[in-house]
Amino acid sequence: MTDSLTLDTGEASRAAAQQTESAEPTREASSIEMQGLHKRFGRDTVALDGVDLVIEAGEFFTLLGPSGCGKTTLLRILAGLEEADDGRLAIGGRDVTETPPHKRSVNTVFQSYALFPHLSVRENLAFGLKMRGMPPADREARVAKIAEFIHLGDLVDRRVDQLSGGQRQRIALARALVNEPDVLLLDEPLSALDAGLRSQLQVELLRVQKRLGMTFVFVTHDQQEAMVMSDRIAVLNGGVIQQVGPPREVYEHPANAFVARFMGHDNLYPISARDGDRLTTPLGVLSAEAAGEGGLLLIRPETLDLLPGEPAGDNQLPATVSERLYRGSHAEYRLEVGESTLQATLNNRGRHLPEVGDRVTVRVAPEDLVTLSE
């Protein structure tokens, strides 16, 4: 780790390389290494409490967590807009812990887009290149190229105040990408948009990232968005990373109760006793195939099966349907099992969908049970 944090001595040649034109807006992606980052606001607010994290070159990496978890602070430290109280940060193998933002080859897509109101769209796009001292002709060429790449069309000739939210978002993305940064930072860039436009831009953003192969660090509080977009997700809470992993791992094997709840899981039950693979829970005794150490049992709603009739065998529980939300492609159930409730999701595949008040049997597959710690 310390090896890669040494200062790059070829700083001048590197800066020169950034100025040269490349045929495609692609360049070698950069990794990010964080070591023991701490940040405190005032005396009492701890925003980051020791963050160690390595983001691989070319990754679409998401910082996920509730508001106040430190995800935005971490992003701002990567941008240089905030300085860590303690710890080291390296981008592309170069230590940038104390580098001011205007000297970092990192660009940000801000939540409010932050397009300059006194400039036209074209001037907004060229702003970063102009500040770096690129000659006007080269700037124009680069702006034209990025406008084509993001399919901006005639938006380039509009005034900023003539743009809609979605258009502003794309201009903000283009204004950052045109600089061909080592790393692109995105601070909840889609949160101000309505649902339809949002999923459309999610897809577009993902395509852009895959085509450029650039390292993207994305901040969101929306776990669905994080799962759709990311190669890997880091879940943060209280300034501490709770879990890092690919979306499936974080969703299916949450590291703790916080991650499980944040990923949308409600079926969490304390394990009061265990006998080998047989776990005693408020629902009853269940066998799990690979029960871990933790004291909490997680049952994912989509792994459950609802059968008619009475329980007949292991891992079958008697239940009453207390609520059904029909969603077309699937139905969401709330079931009463003794004193406990259980959420289940059933795919709509032409089978019988039990109704409210029905007595059913819940079948729990042993291989889908996961234990985790509080």
């Binding site: 941008a79 240089g80 807009l81 001011p100 933002p101 205007h102 000297k103 990192v106 660009n107 940000t108 801000f110 939540q111 409010s112 932050a114 397009l115 300059f116 109101p117 006194h118 400039l119 702003f127 970063g128 102009k130 500040m131 770096r132 900023v160 105040d161 204004r175 950052a176 600089n179």
Partner: protein, 265 residues
């Protein structure tokens, strides 16, 4: 029916108020074009008072003084007030309310108190150091002091109206501190600066009391000249000067208002 009567009544009141405000000005403007010497009767339209004005060395020099004073003091106040406005914006989250009250005090202080204080101060300094001989120099300093709060307030409110993320976007897009000022801050607050300049200009041209106490024998401005002249009675010439001043101040005020209204979304 009653609603209509009320509406008419209110409209009438509006016109009455306007008349109340502008009739005296209209009288001055009208009589500045009076062909006769007498202020009692209007005998026909003529430009003789304006012609006479142009030949009056004293008036021309007073006019020149007024312009030099207004322009120089506005430019200086713009520079200092702009920095103060930005400072107030940057530190708006700190508990600096008392400092802001301190900056605004000159606005609420009666002009006569302010003017006498300035004069007493300049006299003392002059006695001790020989500097600050009463004249245009001391007047400029005095005017700058009362213009600064207005400039600072206008610049501050423009900054407060901006998305704070813009400052970060400028940093993020490789702008050094100097380039941030040149390519982001100054162009963004330009309408506020223009508005502040014309407001300062208007305030300076309008001022009589503070100018009176800080002026020297050679530095009479138009208001001071008029004050001296009317001791001998209101001549139609004074009406002509007043009309020109009304015009100049109105233009400056309108320009100031136009730029302060111009919103950049």
């Amino acid at each position: 029916m009653r609603k209509r009567t009320l509406k008419r009544g209110l409209t009438g009141f509006w016109w009455f108020t306007l008349a109340f405000l502008y009739l005296p000005l209209a009288v001055v403007v009208l009589f500045s074009f009076n062909a006769s010497n007498s202020a009692a009767s209007f005998t026909g339209i003529s430009l003789r008072w304006y012609r006479q004005l142009m030949g009056n060395e004293e008036i021309l020099s007073a006019f020149a003084n007024s312009m030099v004073l207004a322009i120089v003091s506005s430019v200086i106040a713009l520079g200092i007030g702009c920095l103060i406005g930005y400072g107030m914006y940057r530190h708006r989250h700190r508990k600096l309310g008392w400092l802001i009250v301190l900056i605004y005090l000159p606005i609420v202080l009666p002009d006569i108190v302010f003017g006498i204080s300035e004069m007493a101060f300049f006299v003392q300094i002059h006695r001790l150091t020989g500097l600050f001989q009463p004249g245009l120099g001391t007047m400029i300093i005095a005017h700058v002091t009362f213009q600064i709060p207005f400039v600072a307030l206008i610049v501050y409110s423009r900054f407060v109206g901006l998305d704070p993320t813009l400052f970060e976007a400028a940093k993020d897009l490789y702008a050094t501190p100097v380039k941030r000022v040149i390519h982001f801050m100054l162009p963004t607050i330009k309408p506020a600066l223009i508005s502040a300049f014309f407001l300062s200009f208007t305030l300076s041209v309008d001022d009589f009391v503070i100018s009176f106490f800080t002026a020297g024998p050679e530095s009479a401005t138009l208001p001071i000249y008029i004050w001296g002249a009317i001791k001998k009675g209101v001549s139609p010439e004074i009406n002509a000067i007043a009309t020109l001043m009304i015009g100049a101040v109105a233009i400056a005020a309108i320009v100031s208002l136009m730029f302060s209204r111009r919103r950049q979304a």
